[in-house]
Symmetry: C2
Subunit: 216 residues, 2 copies
Amino acid sequence: MPINRTAPEPTIARLAIYVRTLRLARVEGVETLSSADIEARTGINSGQVRKDLSYFGEFGKPGLGYAVLPLYQRLARIMRLDREQTVMIVGAGNMGTALAGYSGLHESGFRLAAIYDNNFSKIGWRIWDLEILDIERMPDLNATMGVRIGIITTPATAAQPVADQLVRSGVRVILNFAPTRVATPRDVIVRNVDLTQELQILCFYLPESLLSEDAV
Amino acid sequence: MPINRTAPEPTIARLAIYVRTLRLARVEGVETLSSADIEARTGINSGQVRKDLSYFGEFGKPGLGYAVLPLYQRLARIMRLDREQTVMIVGAGNMGTALAGYSGLHESGFRLAAIYDNNFSKIGWRIWDLEILDIERMPDLNATMGVRIGIITTPATAAQPVADQLVRSGVRVILNFAPTRVATPRDVIVRNVDLTQELQILCFYLPESLLSEDAV
DNA sequence: TAGATTGTTAATCGATTAACAATC
DNA sequence: TAGATTGTTAATCGATTAACAATC
């Protein structure tokens, strides 16, 4: 029963997929899944599934597979998804507003605790029942709220100062939608979601682009 | 001067970053960048930069580096970013509406040509000046519009039939925001952006979660 | 020319897949 | 028990980094 030190990051990403898959299987009334069953549902190689799980313990029974409910519970606990997690959004523009209203957030066990902006024409207004707060008040307010997950939905130019403010306020992990990298202390984890980059990558794969530029 | 057959996908993702970096450098009036300069601006190892570029040609001069404008133009062409690309959105919910209003789309050279939904209470209404269209009309309408990039912003349950409809309508690449995989013909490329998965991955990295569950 | 930097090859690193003894 | 499937080790694969001859 190995203790997890550092499972590879791709393993953690797949763990989230397993949790979702197991929850769905539970709803369907399925009580046991083999790694081959999980492969059928997720497309993730069955050996990969077993390898991923082995970073965290021995959850299966040879010849039988994995009991859905206990595995779900243990993985959810490992991922800290066994409790409601609170998040805050900085940037009450299009993306921030959409995210605030995104039902998947709640369905996945997240609660939006606050939304901040620096624009006085926005501060004080409400988005889906939540008042837009002055970003200057974040350190003070978050001393009480204790939110540790921050979401940046500002323009690129504001991302770095916002990240600094989040760190100052006690946030430990950041989901950054601004199309720029932000620098943080080493113990603060940042994941970047760059929508236009995703579209640009797809453009490359448009049929004709598979040729070299010279060959076009 | 090697012809590109298949550069690794991570290379393509970085290419998009180089394009953005070069455009910015141009605005700043910088005329030349070495691979070390690009590393300083992007955090991408200078050897990696040279390797990535070498998949597509020889763009630099030993001892001097890369001329910003020509490299920008050539990479933009390779990525098909030298022309306006049209996209369509399916799903006029929170995410679809936000994306439709996202200024970064236009700033990155994309034009939103259409937005579809299957909900009769939404069809006919306008989002940011664009009429919400009946998804049933997509194959017909797109025969004229010729949009090849589709964006799925529906609930998970609708994602697969929507993907099928997109493929039927001539779309070749898909950006999928629904938290589920979609199956497509092999020549249709899908990229998945799963916002709640990103948050769940971050949860794992919250300080206390670095221990194994047993050790907590 | 001398110094700088490319393009590319070789070495390293890390993650995925295959294979199989252990075991339910 | 016999068949099925785990957990893990070894083999493979692919991407990143280091190093350096070529050359501006």
